[in-house]
């Protein structure tokens, strides 16, 4: 269909993670930006957030504005890998292959040595020794 072609032309905008937070304490904003701009440069719209550090209940909190993400995807914005993985895990998009690849690699390899103990809380104990 000729009318559907615009989705595949690049509009120069991308949905990706912007690192905020402090040293050794990253906090990411999920953001729509022009591809050319720097990571800390001007932002068109913030569309969610991702906290990479697990909280007291052993959860990594992710916020996503699905309506706006759908709008930008319809306009033809790109997706970075981490954002695509998060969306896949949330159920909005199909699971990213990276998730599965990481999963079977974790199962295969022995667990990495950790300086900080994993917090045990309300969430069920981790059966993935790599995390």
């Amino acid at each position: 269909m000729a009318s559907a072609l615009p989705t595949f032309t690049k509009i120069g905008k991308v949905i990706r993670l912007n690192r905020h937070g402090c040293t050794n304490r990253p906090f990411y904003h999920i953001v729509v930006q022009k591809t050319k701009d720097n990571q800390d440069g001007p932002v068109i719209e913030q569309v969610g957030s991702f906290d990479a550090m697990p909280n007291s209940k052993n959860e990594k909190l992710v916020a996503l504005n699905f309506e706006r993400i759908q709008y930008w995807l319809a306009q033809g914005a790109g997706l970075s890998d981490p954002v695509a993985q998060l969306l896949g895990l949330s159920g909005f998009l199909p699971n990213h292959p990276r998730t599965l690849i990481q999963a079977w690699k974790n199962r295969r390899e022995p667990p990495r040595e950790r300086k900080i103990e994993a917090i045990k809380g309300i969430a069920p104990p981790l059966d993935n020794p790599k995390l």
């Binding site: 559907a4 989705t7 720097n38 990571q39 440069g41 292959p97 690849i101």
Partner: protein, 215 residues
């Protein structure tokens, strides 16, 4: 050490004079700089991935890309549909319809006005043409009459000339035979005419000589 500015200018089109004071991001080693001593003889081990795993990874990515393409297309179509049916679009449609009606009305009035003007013009033209046609017809009639009169005159003139009718033919022949016409003539250098074929100059006396008229 590798020349760099402490503050960076943001890569924005219309705000290029803004300065960013955040950390400098290390992108790559400058191209002219030498290789570090610890890295000269380093051979990086290439990650070996078994064939079946590679195939599995490829399969996963192909499927993912396929589904992402179709999802993006679906979102695009949804956005089009939403744009059609949304409130803003409906209001726009309504306004457009109103505008259209208004313009059509305006057009109709304008057409009527021009139609009236045209009617009058055509009426005047019709009268003019009628008058002209009448005048020309009259003129033609007059001319025809004139022509007829001329023809009649000519005919009468012709009739009056002595034609030889079948009754007069014998008389005419006898007359012609009795009076032959001789067109021969001669001219003198003094300007005198001697008519007839066999006339001799000596036979005519000086007084009875004809003078050549040039009329």
């Amino acid at each position: 050490m590798f020349g760099s500015s402490g503050s960076r200018v943001l890569n924005v089109i219309n705000i290029s004079y803004l300065q960013s004071r955040s950390k400098r991001v290390w992108v790559r080693k400058p191209l002219g700089s030498p290789m570090a001593k610890s890295k000269i003889f380093r051979i990086t081990p290439k990650p070996v991935i078994p064939e079946d795993e590679k195939a599995e990874i490829k399969r996963l990515f192909d499927n993912y890309k396929n589904s992402m393409k179709s999802i993006r297309q679906y979102f695009f179509e949804q956005s089009l549909k939403q744009a059609e049916s949304g409130e803003v679009a409906q209001m726009k449609h309504r306004l457009e319809d109103q505008e259209h009606e208004r313009l059509m009305e305006e057009n109709r009035l304008e057409n009527e006005k021009t139609a009236m003007v045209r009617e009058e013009r055509l009426k005047i033209q019709a009268e003019n043409t009628q008058r002209n046609v009448l005048a020309s017809l009259i003129k033609k009639e007059g001319e025809a009459k004139q022509h007829e009169i001329q023809i009649e005159d000519f005919l009468t003139k012709q009739m009056s000339t002595p034609f030889i009718q079948p009754e007069n033919i014998e008389k005419a022949i006898e007359d012609a035979l009795a009076n032959p016409v001789n067109f021969n003539f001669a001219l003198d250098l003094d300007g005198y005419v001697y008519r007839g074929k066999d006339t001799s100059i000596d036979t005519i006396p000086e007084e009875k000589r004809e003078r050549l008229n040039s009329n």
